[in-house]
């Protein structure tokens, strides 16, 4: 039995070795695989792709739908807030974007509403903030229960917020942004790269060195808050009016 198997294998190997057809396939495979990897190498050496995600350094997922801006529900396109041509050395007024994923029925979101409102008014040049404008966007998700648009309007207006409230019901952008709990905050660079994610805390993205950096915890409360992230990250670049 062992001998038969050995003979059979030997015969197959011998045929393969001598077969011109097998040789043609092998030669062709070598040519084509070489071409494939040459193509891949050219692409790899001439581009630097950025993954879409919510970790610092990744490209923030885009979303669009309806948002309440105080006057009514209007079409909101996240891309419209971005300035793709922004660079760390830009001296223009490209705004950064702070995104808050919240639920009006979440206790922490309710208690944070006041300070989020304050931050949205602090980080604008008109309030003598030396850094670039930071646009705030609240994305309302339904983790605790259902909310009507009238409920969202009421929550926004009662907290005196002036930034848009995006209704994520039926859109599901929270999945792309990998939101497991509310509130979760993000600071996004003008070019759409995530600079900071409250879920990852003291890790931020440095657009100059293009690598992750650690940011401090000024209050020493073991927790980096959105305002602390904004102050530490945005001021280290251009973007402010000279």
């Amino acid at each position: 039995m062992g001998k038969d198997w050995l003979e059979l294998t030997s015969e197959i190997m011998n045929n393969l070795y001598r077969s011109e057809e097998a040789s043609a396939r092998g030669d062709a495979a070598l040519i084509v695989i070489s071409l494939f990897f040459a193509g891949l190498l050219v692409v790899a050496f001439t581009s630097n792709p950025i993954a879409t995600g919510t970790k610092p350094g990744e490209r923030a997922p885009l979303f669009s739908g309806k948002a309440y801006n105080g006057d009514g529900w209007e079409t909101f396109v996240f891309d419209d807030l971005l300035t793709p041509e922004w660079t760390p050395n830009s001296t223009d007024d490209a705004p950064w974007i702070a995104v808050e994923f919240m639920d009006r029925l979440c206790g922490h979101c309710v208690s944070a509403a006041s300070e989020v409102g304050d931050w949205s008014e602090t980080y604008v040049k008109t309030s003598n903030w030396p850094g670039p404008d930071v646009l705030f966007v609240a994305v309302h998700v339904e983790f605790q229960g259902s909310s009507s648009r009238a409920d969202i309007e009421e929550f926004r207006d009662s907290n005196g917020h002036t930034f848009p409230y995006f209704d994520d019901d039926g859109v599901g952008s929270f999945k792309d942004w990998d939101i497991g709990a509310t509130p979760t905050y993000f600071l996004v660079q003008p070019d759409g790269i995530v600079a900071w994610n409250s879920g990852i805390q003291n890790l931020a993205w440095d657009a100059v060195s293009e690598e992750s950096i650690t940011i401090g915890d000024p209050n020493g409360d073991q927790r980096v808050k959105l305002n602390e992230a904004i102050e530490q990250i945005t001021l280290s670049y251009g973007g402010a009016t000279e």
């Binding site: 011109e20 057809e21 043609a24 396939r25 030669d27 062709a28 495979a29 040519i31 084509v32 695989i33 071409l35 494939f36 193509g39 891949l40 050219v42 692409v43 001439t46 581009s47 630097n48 792709p49 950025i50 993954a51 879409t52 490209r59 997922p61 885009l62 793709p84 041509e85 070019d191 759409g192 790269i193």
Partner: protein, 202 residues
């Protein structure tokens, strides 16, 4: 360099392949005969033409992969106010990756054209092998399998009201390859495949 100038490089490779496969191939292929004597025959020119078409399809697919990467960096590679706009399609995260696999369409194109190229090179190297009809059928099947994929991508273009010229060039290369494999298969069934064996057969 203007993106359409670069696109024309890919198109020229494909166009040369198409010309080789037509009756004009006799004169267009004369520059290849010294290096590759098999191109003096109709079968040889058809196979050489198909190699050029697959190579052009491969290079344009690699270019769309490069565009995909560049757009993820935040750049703009082929945008404009007209209907011809790659950025709106290759840069659109809703459409720019293969469903279930999550990889860029350009990478799928590179793999597909490499497989087709492998089939053509094998057939060209051993045109009289027993496995030749199987390879020709496999090539035809693979290009036909590409049609629903092209249909899906065209549906994205219609939905967005845009046309991606680079993607369209790759789609055209697949369709040309499909026709070429069909013609080759028909040729295999006739005496045209190996006229030198005609007498032996009879």
């Amino acid at each position: 360099m203007n993106e359409y100038v670069i696109l024309s490089f890919h198109a020229v490779i494909i166009l040369y392949g198409v010309l080789l496969m037509t009756p004009l191939g006799d004169s267009f292929g004369s520059i290849l005969v010294n290096k590759w004597p098999s191109t003096s025959t109709k079968r040889g020119r058809m196979l050489a033409g198909l190699m050029f078409v697959c190579t052009g399809g491969f290079t344009v697919s690699a270019h769309t992969l490069w565009m995909h990467n560049k757009l993820s960096e935040g750049g703009s590679v082929c945008s404009g106010s007209s209907i011809l706009n790659c950025d709106g399609l290759i840069g659109n995260p809703d459409y720019n990756t293969v469903p279930f696999i999550g990889q860029p369409w350009g990478l799928l194109g590179m793999v597909a054209f490499c497989v087709l190229l492998w089939i053509v090179v094998v057939v060209a190297k051993e045109p009289l092998a027993f496995s030749t009809p199987t390879f020709l059928k496999a090539g035809l099947g693979a290009t036909i399998a590409g049609l629903p994929v092209i249909g899906l991508l065209v549906s994205y273009e219609i939905k967005e009201g845009l046309i991606c010229p680079f993607c369209t060039t790759a789609h055209i290369a697949n369709i040309i390859a499909m026709v070429a494999f069909f013609v080759l298969f028909k040729m295999y069934e006739s005496d045209e495949w190996a006229p030198e064996l005609k007498k032996t057969r009879k």
